[in-house]
């Protein structure tokens, strides 16, 4: 039989184009067509009035509730309260300080995310090491002629971000150390880490925060007090680091034994092996889990409202109580949800981007 090379042909036209897509994804068979129509009907009957309420029938400009006459959402309420939502009770003349801190942070993060920017390593180190110090002095003040702003005045989105960023930045390294400790051959190190992780994982964050704000001061000597925000931060960090440790342990266990052996055989020491060989691979596998924990942490920060810290949710609830604006809590909750969603969704997108970037071919075998 004679062998001939067959020409490559384009796919049949029913597979391509809009019609092809619709047929393949929405109307392939009677069941799917019915499902498409039913789901489509409900979506439209829900979305249309919602969009109308949020965007079309809504009021945006004004100074008091008298401006809200259209029957839709009253965004005037949010606009008038925006400063409080963002800065809490932070003195108005000093708002530029949290703004500047926020801009520096977002700026450096964008720097790190963009593919072409140079000196990423340096920026990352500055962001992790120098930035927290700058941000602290910016927000707290009492240096370089900046008036002091006590932490009980911090609030709104600023406070939420402070809690989340400190929690994220501090719990990751602590989690790594705990996870390595849990894998350690040294029985004392191992049992200390296991005990720590299991205790913190076994209690709800609310209890931790209560402990930090109410119980802890009872154990301090008379006259000694330390900042409530700081106590909450420590509580959140320790709590999240236990979760982080378990995520990281999962990643470490997924690294084939051969990688440890190859590093050993080359003469790398324990820390060299972990930092140069194991962690970079494990962290890549752990990105979804870590980001998941970050997102949970970000949202959990709203629990601080029960110990009297005014994060963005607490500010919203306080605003709802304002007699001048009573009846508009839907708007404030929606706005707060949007704020949380923007940050959490950005984290989620960035993690997907990272995963793709760090993918170096298929050969991840032992």
């Amino acid at each position: 039989m004679k062998y001939e090379i067959q020409p490559t042909l384009p796919p049949p036209s029913s597979m391509i184009g809009v019609v092809g897509w619709l047929r393949k994804n929405l109307f392939n068979g009677p069941t799917n067509s019915v499902a498409t129509i039913v789901v489509g009907y409900f979506l439209i009957s829900f979305l249309v009035p919602t969009i109308q309420w949020i965007f079309i029938d809504s009021d945006w400009v004004g100074t008091s509730r008298d401006a809200c006459t259209s029957g839709g959402a009253c965004w005037v309420f949010i606009a008038n309260r925006l400063d409080q939502f963002l800065y809490g009770f932070y003195p108005e003349t000093e708002h530029w300080r949290p703004q500047l801190a926020f801009i520096i942070m977002i700026g450096s993060i964008i720097w790190l995310v963009l593919p072409q920017t140079p000196k990423k390593g340096l920026v990352a180190i500055l962001l992790l090491v120098v930035y927290p110090i700058i941000a602290y002095f910016l927000l707290y003040g009492d240096v370089f002629g900046l008036p002091q702003v006590e932490t009980h005045l911090w609030g709104g989105l600023t406070l939420t971000l402070v809690l989340a960023v400190v929690g994220i930045v501090a719990s990751l390294p602590l989690g790594i150390v705990l996870a390595l400790g849990r894998q350690s051959d040294m029985p004392i190190v191992k049992s200390v880490c296991v005990t720590f992780i299991e205790i913190w994982r076994g209690v709800p964050l609310i209890t931790v925060l209560f402990m930090a704000s109410v119980m802890l001061p009872l154990f301090f000597p008379e006259g000694m007090s330390f900042d409530k925000l700081l106590r909450a931060l420590i509580g959140i960090t320790l709590f999240q680091s236990a979760y982080m440790a378990e995520v990281i342990r999962g990643g470490l266990q997924a690294i084939p034994k051969g990688q440890y052996e190859a590093a050993d055989a080359l003469g790398l020491g324990y820390w060299q092996k972990m930092i140069l060989v194991i962690m970079p691979q494990a962290l890549k596998l752990m990105i979804p889990g870590i980001v998941n924990t970050f997102i949970a942490l970000f949202k959990d920060t709203s629990l601080v409202l029960i110990i009297g810290l005014f994060d963005v949710l607490a500010i919203g609830q306080a605003a709802n109580q304002d007699p001048d604006w009573i009846g508009y809590s839907t708007e404030s909750y929606l706005f707060i949800a949007l704020l949380f969603w923007v940050f959490c969704f950005s984290m989620s997108r960035y993690s997907q981007h990272l995963e793709k970037k760090l993918h170096t071919g298929h050969g991840n075998r032992a």
Binding site: A265, L266, G267, L268, T360, A366
Partner: protein, 252 residues
């Protein structure tokens, strides 16, 4: 055809080596002396302890009794000695165990830079030289996942050689390869043998054993059953167990 490079210096010495996995006695009184430049091929059925034995030499496995001396350094609990021995002993694994997050070149320079504190430039120059020797300098900037099995194994050999080892351990280096890739790896190993490297190879490539080995060792049940120079070993095996094994692997 067999040019022995062996000198009188003892490179690896195992004395009454014993090892247990829990209750299971894996290695029983192993005695072995390998001179500098000697090429040893170790074969035997699976579970006979051959891999475990060579993995004891660089302390990937811990032994419970007996002595291991590598290049005059005794292998004991002292972490300094273990590290010193690992600097002198290169190892090639069945599954290559390249670091998938690093390029070929980065794989090769990692240990020289961090363990030997070699300047990066020098380490890279040396790595390129060795990649040249295993005939894949053009793959230096690729990731291991982009290479074929044979290429990966040659990178793994180059990576070990970058540490300038005095002894090379090969743990079934061709067992995980597709048949058409075995030769390219064996060629590199033969070249290395001809340059006088001290080698301990766990392998079932009997052609390789016949070409380069100074001695072939047959293990079974955690013991060295028979040890002879290749011609005698293949043509005149002494023990029944060896005869059976050889008849099984040489049949086809």
């Amino acid at each position: 055809m067999n040019h022995s490079h062996a000198t009188d210096k003892l490179m690896v010495e195992l004395r009454d080596l014993n090892k247990w996995y829990g209750e299971f006695h894996v290695l029983k009184n192993i005695n072995l002396e390998v001179k500098q430049g000697e090429k040893i091929v170790i074969c035997g059925p699976s579970g006979s302890g051959k891999s475990t034995m060579i993995r004891c030499i660089n302390h990937l496995e811990e032994h419970q009794k007996g002595d291991i001396i590598v290049n005059d350094i005794p292998l004991n609990e002292d972490i300094k000695n273990i590290e010193a021995i690992r600097k002198d002993v290169g190892m090639v694994f069945q599954h290559f165990n390249l670091f998938p997050h690093l390029t070929v070149l980065e794989n090769c320079v990692l240990a020289p830079i961090w363990v030997k504190k070699m300047p990066r430039k020098e380490a890279e120059a040396q790595a390129m030289e060795l990649l040249e020797r295993v005939k894949i300098p053009d793959q230096a900037l690729k990731y291991p996942g982009q290479l074929s099995g044979g290429q990966q194994q040659r990178v793994a050999i180059a990576r070990s050689l970058c540490m300038n080892p005095d002894v090379m351990l090969f743990d079934e280096p061709t067992s995980a390869l597709d048949p058409e890739m075995i030769k390219e790896v064996l060629d590199v190993m033969i070249e290395l043998a001809n340059e006088g490297m001290t080698m301990l190879c766990v392998t079932h490539e009997m052609g390789f054993a016949k070409t380069v080995a100074d001695r072939v060792i047959f293990m079974d049940g955690g013991q060295i059953v028979e040890e002879n120079e290749p011609h005698e070993f293949f043509n005149n095996p002494q023990h029944e167990r060896t005869q059976l094994f050889l008849s099984q692997i040489l049949q086809h």
